[in-house]
Assembly symmetry: C2
Homo-oligomer: 126 residues x 2
């Protein structure tokens, strides 16, 4: 969904999907990235570091997520050196997968109208 | 896409689509609302007031938009009492319409996966 050639301006479509529950963001781009990094590293501390996020911020995001769903999305043990381990629950895998599906399906559905807008944008830098 | 009953938590899907050209936001939710208000009021000043936005902020949004596209989206005369008149060009009508189409098609495409996530969210306030 990006067009870039030489020194021309990059044209991009940037959809950001958030799921709200009351005042909480129950899911969104940052939480999806965090879950993916937790899955890859098995550690909340390492996941946070990869995303240049403080450990406390990552912990807070997990706490908000876990409180919004019927079952927690992340199982984390807080203590210990290195911040303890963390892993996705089956609910976590499911929500992450559905969210990425929503992103893909949204992009696909928008393609024709997006091509229409892109054709009206200046492509040369100016 | 909202569910609200009695004192339960409101669950909502909030997609926000932005179109970037280089560092500029060539279109997004705020610019779409501004174009709609310009069309309704025929005045940048009144459109800004309805959106609780300063006149200068609205003028800046219009200037950025107009610079991003091959043809301007808004034709505005700045001077005069009341801030002068403003109207959408045919390019402005076209971009606004394509953007709203993208929003609708995106929501429709996401419905099945969204229902899947919604079913995992707690619905009762707690």
């Amino acid at each position: 969904m990006r067009t870039k050639t030489n020194d021309r301006q990059t044209i991009a479509l940037l959809p950001r999907i958030r799921i709200l529950r009351g005042k909480d963001v129950a899911f969104g781009p940052g939480k999806a990235d965090l879950l993916e990094q937790i899955r890859e590293t098995g550690s909340l501390n390492q996941a946070a570091r990869r995303l240049r996020m403080s450990y406390m911020k990552a912990w807070l995001l997990v706490r908000v997520m876990n409180a919004c769903y019927k079952k927690p999305l992340v199982k984390a043990s807080r203590g210990g050196s290195g911040g303890g381990g963390a892993e996705l629950t089956s609910a976590g895998e499911r929500v992450l997968s559905l969210y990425r599906t929503m992103e893909r399906q949204s992009l696909r559905a928008m393609e024709p109208a997006w091509a229409g807008i892109a054709s009206l944008l200046k492509s040369e830098s100016s």
